[in-house]
Symmetry: D2
Subunit: 358 residues, 4 copies
């Protein structure tokens, strides 16, 4: 209906009166509001290490870290999301650059955050008093409303990925923010979370009352790497090859209520099967090189690059090199699972829907 | 930092280069992205029955219900949400107008919907084959992805409130929609949900395999009204007076994964205490008259009116008449509870934060 | 092995030495400890109203209700459970007899209890201060560790069924008991639970902090009866005909953590299909007459009778009269479901396993 | 009441008639059935390595392992539980002895089992096709109804602790047992569970459909030992010193629905505070020596010994040596938590309730 409805004078008058009362007829926007399937405003995109790295260094020279700005962070902005400050519709991904001796002042906020360490060592994040030292490959959590500051006791600049649900919590109008009194939290422990919860299948009796230490905060690369290598051919999956989800070992659920994190190893020569999901993802290329086809567009990637997969977008990955490729990703899957909105669809081989530029 | 950062040529150049690579510096937008507390773009607003009722009637004369437009619905558009087609940031509230013999064709979609019947009888919603007849005061659910169509076997036009999580699911880019083959579903049962699940504390053995009938779909007004009157002075709460939440008796949770529904009776002379919550609400005045103060602005209301409370807005209600006032509301509370984002704050008497226009 | 193991002198000596050290060889008792399937020590049994009713009356004349004995209760003792004070291996079923003006003193204990009212009116159970008046057909809960006393403001003796998980909690060595200071609790409310929670799909806002009132305590017969009649032919199940489970509307789970309660209407002429379950049950014949076959043994029953179905026993029911039969039952199903031990098996027609005495 | 009730002829006659109808008066057994608090029939007891070890060896010489007897197992029988074949009221603890080349034939049963390896290496348990090699200190699970057989590819006899919920499932009349066709399962994998789930905080994508591999089956000592040493003084608890619970990292819950497992390190000189719980435990002394006081009775223990703590028994541990003591324990805590029956009470220092024989 409506689409072909003749716009009589009476109808035009009705529309004007409806509008004047701050109302709107559904029938003129049904197709817009209720499309057959999602078409994300976000577009597939890739950001190169060769681009962001020098920009970080220049920022390091020009921009001090101060209360108010809080962090020296360069965010990846999806070209399709005009001015939304977002990498996908729900995820903020960024690189943060910290130089020896610098302090990113303590604060807390309702958006959840993860860090995935790209380069360097001896920087730390103090989370509710627990000073967690970070090394390349570590995944560090700062769950919603935990105090956190960053510092650096090493000798070389350090760079890591930030992943936040900031666009989501922003859209939900749920952002609260509070600066800490003082730049740094007094440490209550050093790597206490790691010491206590560093093996998920063993829970310390002391953590029955875990006010100060909210479970496992640092998923160490040394452990992750071992695990990734332990899995072999028989553990591979068609869409992600050899893949592990980081989980909260106290619940079996995702690491954060809104964000899941994955690490996957794509073996040399493997080309995964295409799939699309009601979920968006941001990938960081931790090791190796290869390419992904996302909604028919091919992106070549190598170590240090980032790329995003908007929701309900076909995507497949290939490692054409002779070494393993390792991809870290942050995903908003838990958001959709919480409300029963999650779906996935696999590409049937030969059905031609995923047309690539190869 | 940043705020007072002098915009040197080098820095200007850096910003331009960052922008060219589809990146953005956090420090220039920290205060914007991480405010101390939410300030909803939506504003408190009231829509009058005296306004929408004649508009519905005129639409009834001018606009047929057809496939494509799907429904004769006039939505309440929040003046603060420029063009977002939303009543609050997450909720779509609207009135739907159906005349005897008309058919609103069957379809399904991932947004969840509730109907609350304002006037009339003998219209029905068929949900996954169960033909649910609706009367004034009934709350009828069409959970995500259930087939539903409306028809009308009565003699007078019927009007009801629609409440959907459409803006939320839209922001989440999770909308799927599918028209049914044919305008009406063949009925598998008549009021079967009501017959089977009409007393929440008794679950039929037959519903152990409830493919066709997804639990309780129609919360009948006759039962609700009795319950509302059974509660007395000792059951009153400071913020909502005598209030009941409609729940899913198979889980104890909200009626839909994203939406909670409430009915409350405000006794004559009662003026509730002000509170604000990380949650938005749309109220329908089912009976009586009174006023609410929302973020310092007073709205007088009477039977048939609608008004909204944006998230984190102070609100309080008063019934100044000599009869009960009954308010129905739909709320997005479950969204925030799912992610640990829910908060509430009560106004301390005399602390002067809620300044009213009385 | 072992079964045919020759009992040499050496082996005899080993067994003696093992025994002396308070140890035991598994291999001699494997078949005893690990049978192919359960064979309950409890046996199917029926207790007649014509028997227990006069016994109750005589007890009413001879036995006062006093602190220490606490209740005038006659329990149904399964003949197979030599001296265990149990109706099935986990369930204690009994009749309690209270005369006008009598008081069964207040106490609390960790075993959970239900009452199902057989005859009379105006007696009450006060549960954590809420004075719940009871009428024929009402199901009244006293969850673990809630204070409860009984009194009687009517004019005729009152009799009800008690159902407790006492044998289970006894076997688990988890019984705690505490007498109240004084015989009666001071009432905090009258039928408050019923008033607040009497429609499961509506939860009062006041019950968000429900210290004194633990949810729905009285499932009124007037409501249950209506619901039972509302269900019709299309709602019947093969094993229980038209059946409803009483549920906790705040969780969707059983009324008590260890006990489920059911009410079922067997239509005239219906003979249900046989089934066995890892669960035991005690039935009370609330209305009508018929018979059940339990593990090949037929029991004719009529109004007021009780009978039990031990675990993993085939059972089927028949109503050969021209009126509805109504059976109430208490079941230990939740115990087995909690640990993944629940199973059921349906009799294939004609497979001859259930041989009846018809 | 009742206790002092005069046994008149009429009352005697009533009791006889009640008994003849397979009923029983509560009032005569109220104190017996509803004691103020639990007094376990089980008694604290200790079994010495020096006793069981030679008995195992003699059984190894005299008793072959055959279908029917199934396992060469010597169980610890609590002297207080006359003939119940149980270590506590719910737990069966035992030692199993397997020689190189022997096979304990494949079967499955509804009781859950754990193994904790005391001595030896290169024996294996195949669980649903996954061949799990076992070494000293490993904890290996065979959850309810999983196929399992044991074999031994090493050169020395191997001995391990068996812990089952057999007395519980027996009391619940829920035991099912089925022998496998053939003595050994064909292996589907080798240490697959360990490879896939050996780091609880990383879940392989492949395990989303884990029919053949039910999660983590082998908690390797090498990992546990590291973790136990990583915890330090600030991680100690008053009742268990430095303690870890083995958990199911996919749920955060206990390793089995009915059984929890703990490992604890008691530092030299530490004497823990006394506590009692509604839960029973069986301890194995993995390393070191010391003593425990259980309900006022002192038990000296050293490596290889076993001792039990009946439910609601005061217990405290002391390490008087100059080396760490390590205790493994299996506990029935989950049973009581499932039904809300769990309680604990700590001894107030100086209140004299725990009177020891020191």
């Amino acid at each position: 209906m409506a689409v072909e409805l003749e716009l009589t004078e009476e109808l035009r008058k009705l529309y004007a009166d409806v509008d004047a009362k701050h109302m709107a007829p559904l029938w003129n926007v049904t197709a817009q509001l209720l499309p057959r399937e999602p078409a994300s405003k976000a577009i597939p995109w890739l950001w190169r290490r060769d681009d962001y790295w020098p920009l970080c260094q220049r920022a390091g020279e020009l921009v001090p870290i101060e209360r108010g700005g809080e962090r020296r962070v360069l965010a990846f902005i999806n070209p399709g999301l005009e001015g939304k400050y977002a990498t996908t519709h729900t995820i903020w991904a960024a690189v943060q650059y910290l130089q020896p001796g610098e302090i990113a002042p303590a604060h807390r906020h309702t958006p959840n955050a993860i860090r995935f360490i790209i380069e360097g060592s001896r920087a730390f994040t103090t989370v509710n008093g627990d000073k967690c030292f970070m090394e390349r490959g570590d995944l560090v959590l700062t769950p919603a409303w935990t105090w956190h500051d960053h510092g650096h006791e090493g000798s070389e600049p350090m760079i890591w990925m930030d992943g936040l649900d900031l666009p989501l919590v922003g859209d939900l109008e749920g952002v609260f923010f509070e600066p800490f009194k003082g730049d740094r939290q007094p440490p209550l422990g050093i790597n206490a979370s790691e010491r206590r919860h560093g093996l998920g299948q063993l829970r310390p009796a002391i953590s029955a009352a875990p006010e100060a230490y909210p479970g496992l905060l640092n998923y160490k690369w040394s452990q992750t790497a071992t695990r990734l290598q332990t899995l072999g051919d028989e553990d591979a999956t068609p869409y992600d090859d050899i893949a592990l989800e980081y989980v909260n070992p106290h619940t079996g659920g995702p690491v954060l209520p809104t964000l899941a994190c994955w690490i996957q190893r794509i073996r040399p020569g493997i080309h995964t099967r295409a799939r699309r999901q009601v979920a968006s993802k941001v990938y960081h290329v931790f090791e190796g090189e290869g390419w992904s086809v996302i909604n028919g567009r091919r992106f070549n990637w190598k170590q240090g690059d980032f790329f995003c997969v908007p929701t309900w977008s076909w995507h497949e990955h290939a490692n054409t090199s002779s070494h393993d490729a390792v991809l870290f990703s942050v995903q908003d899957t838990p958001v959709f699972q919480a409300f029963g909105l999650y779906r996935e669809e696999a590409l049937q081989s030969g059905d031609g829907r995923q047309i690539t530029a190869r």
